[in-house]
Structure formats: C-alpha cells, structure tokens
Symmetry: C2
Subunit: 249 residues, 2 copies
C-alpha cells in the first residue's frame, strides 16, 4: 500500500464529503471540482467511489448530495454523542434567559467541535455546524478546553504557522485562573463568545459551555452577565454531568 498518495486520497475523499453542509446540501459537479481544486477526472473517480457506497447520491437534476448510506452512522453517532436531558434543559434555560446561542464544545484530537447546540432567539444569531471541526487555536471554548491539555499548545503551530503561541498560552493560563474565557472576533470578525469549563462527575474537564453572539450585543454589562450566566450554567451541568458521553471524553 502506497504511503503519501494513499493518505492524500483518503483526505481528499473525506474533504469532498465535507463540502456538503446545511448551507450547501446540493452541489453540482462543477461546484465540487472548483471547491476541491482537484482535476475533474479525480473528482469524478472519488465521487464514483462514494456513490457506490451510497455516501453521496445524485439527484435527477445532476446535483450531488449526501447519500442514504450516511444513515448507517446517524443513529449510532447521535446516540453516542448525545448530552443528557438535564444538560439540554439547562442549555435551553440559558437561551430563554439570555437570548444567545449556546453550545457544548469538546476537544477531539487537535480540533474542537460542538456536540450540542441550542439556537439563540434573535434573528441575527451565531449558528455553527454541530460536529464541524473548528480551530483549537482560536475562540473562548478553545482556551477553556486547552486548560486540560496545555501540552497541545505547541503542536498547534503545525496547523497554524502564524499562531502566536505565547499569547495563546497566556490566554489559556488566564482562563484557568479565572474559570472562564472570552474571545472577540478571534475566529470570525464580529463574533464574541464566552466559555466556562464543564467537569465530568469524576472531576475531569470534559467540555466547554459557550454563549456566543454578535459582538455589538455582547459587551459591557451584558458581557459581564454572559460570563456570570455561562459560569453558573457550566457549574450546574458539572453537578449532574453530561451523561454517558462523558465516557468518550
């Protein structure tokens, strides 16, 4: 089995699947080719592999989308990564009280991702894709998650050569001391987020609870409120735990 080219093929195939998201559920071959930066013949071949496994599907209009074969992983991964009802209820209460989107972020290898989201009540709200890899070198949830894995900070230069390691380390240390972290426009301009640690029932930091929204709505006294609300809610969740998903974290 060849080395680099094989690894690259796997990566390219999974990258193709990643092109489909809730904003782009249907893509033409042209769009997929353009976005991939690969030769059309390569894309056609990768898509044929995925189609044979029913992981992508072609509609009658010729556009591609995720195939029914994806369903084989849906129920299982949703069940594995589900937070318990108490956590959901707590997240919902935060949204009801505060209006902004709430997420539970976990670290997976050297990325972070939301495993649970309750959307804010405003029209302009911060909606991210649950299960989508997001950078561990930016954002308030990253800083909170890194307090439990400080050794990773140096490795992150590999994924982001421009990373200011010293600044990130200082941010992580500050989060550790304060018990929360704030980020403004680190990952996306105009977005502010506040995060606090969620501990498992056996006391490990397993996740970050995050309130996020447009920066103009999250500043001054309201930012102070957000910090208090997210810290209290994260403590509450830590009291009863996230449920069986803790075993995966």
């Amino acid at each position: 089995m060849a080395g680099d080219s094989s690894v690259r093929s796997v990566a390219r195939t999974l990258d193709l699947l990643d092109q489909f998201d809730h904003r782009h559920p249907f893509l033409s071959l042209r769009e997929i080719v353009d976005q991939s930066g690969l030769p059309k013949t390569t894309v056609v071949r990768l898509l044929a592999n995925l189609e044979a496994r029913a992981l992508v599907s072609v509609r009658s209009d010729g556009r591609y989308t995720l195939g029914a074969g994806m369903l084989r992983w849906v129920r299982m991964s949703a069940a594995l990564w589900e937070v318990n009802d108490q956590t959901r209820a707590c997240m919902r209460r935060v949204v009801d009280a505060f209006g902004e989107t709430v997420n539970v972020y976990v670290r997976q290898d050297n990325v972070r991702m939301s495993i649970a989201q309750e959307e804010g009540t405003n029209t302009v709200r911060n909606v991210i894709e649950v299960g989508s890899p997001m950078p561990l070198w930016a954002g308030s949830s990253a800083k909170v998650l890194l307090t439990a894995a400080p050794d990773l900070i140096d490795e992150l230069v590999e994924v982001n050569p421009d990373l200011d390691v010293a600044a990130l380390r200082a941010g992580v240390e500050a989060a550790s001391e304060a018990g929360y972290a704030v980020s403004e426009g680190e990952r996306e301009r105009g977005a502010t987020a506040v995060s606090a640690p969620i501990l498992s029932t056996d006391g490990r930091l397993v996740a970050a609870l995050t309130i996020s929204g447009p920066s103009p709505r999250l500043n001054g006294a309201r930012l102070e409120d957000a910090i208090r609300v997210v810290t209290d809610a994260a403590k509450e969740i830590s009291g009863f735990g996230l449920g069986s998903v803790e075993e995966l974290l």
Copy 2:
C-alpha cells in the same frame, strides 16, 4: 495521484468505519485489525487519519468508536432522507396491525438500503440497520426495486459471481406482474419478507415497502395477509408520496 492503491486506501478507510454498528459500538484495536485483515501498522495509520478528523474517537479504555465529527453529517443526512409523517404513521399502523418490522427500502447504485424502519412488536423480530448497504440480488425488496432498473440485473454478477441471473430476472418479472414480491431465506436463513412498490407522486417507482419477520411466523394464511397488508399500505403511501426525499430517488 496513484490509481489502484489510492482507491483501495479509501475503501479500506470506509470499511473501518463500517465495522462500527449498533451491535459493535466499541472496538479494540485488536478487533479492528482482525476484522479488517490488514496489517496492524496499516490499521493504526488509517485510524490516525480518521481520529484527526474526529470521525473515530478513542475512549479512556483504549477502545475505538465513532467520533463526534460524524455529527456534522447527522442532521443533514437525517433531514434529507427522512420520509414524511404520513408515511411514518402508515408504517406504524402496519406494525400495530401486523406485529412485524416494516422498512422502506430504496436503491442506491447497485445496493439497497432501508431509509426508514418501524420495529415489530415481537421479541424475535427482524431488525436491520437503517442506511446499511444490502444486496440487490436477494430479498423481496430487491426484486421490487429492480422492476424499475432491470438493466442492472446483469451487472450484479460482478458483485456476486454465483448469482443465478435467469432466476433473478424471472423473480423480478414475476414481481412486476404481481405487484409484490416474497422472499424466504434468500439473504438470511429463517427470514421471510414481503415487499410492494411505492410510487412517487409523479408515478415513478422510488421505493419498496417491506414487512419482514421469522419464516415460521410468515407463512400460510398469515403470509397471504402480509401480502395484502403491504400492498395496501404501499398503495396508500404512493397516494400521498414519501415527501421531499422523492427528489433524491
């Protein structure tokens, strides 16, 4: 980009993901290696790729499972491939009346898979994995689905060299004439299934409705009942359609 070895790597990677199902949510490295038939070093490398994308995750006990990154496809593929509430209600009524498991099968390339399932009420019941590829050369639903794609029959020898093409063709023709198909032990010994065609609102055959259960419970007069029930229910569903999923079929 290398040809064969790259295609093989992609296939192997996706095969690894396929090892995880509801009966095997957690697998040790040893189990994954044994089941794959690949060298341990290869498996370790493939798993590392998947882990970096959060598509697999390692628990503290060292066992692997599906990663949180799977969630990025969960909501979208579940929504895309969802049958409408009327179809669900009809399936549920069949289960309530008849007791056996009901599935909606669709053809994807040269396999078939269930996109919706309502489990039977008996302890011994026929539960298959939604979204799992199943052979198009066996089973009552395959025969019904092939009535709309008879040209595929010859191609199926490629996936099953032992296939009796003439017998399958005769079975598909019989299904076309009768408006239903019955299979006993074709895919799994002791399992009987009855299927009838579901048409889209624009009159295309898009799916098969199937009742399946242990052969000792599905024979004689009760088999006749099953044929009547599944045919009536498939006609009812064809009347209102499966919903937006029809556009993908």
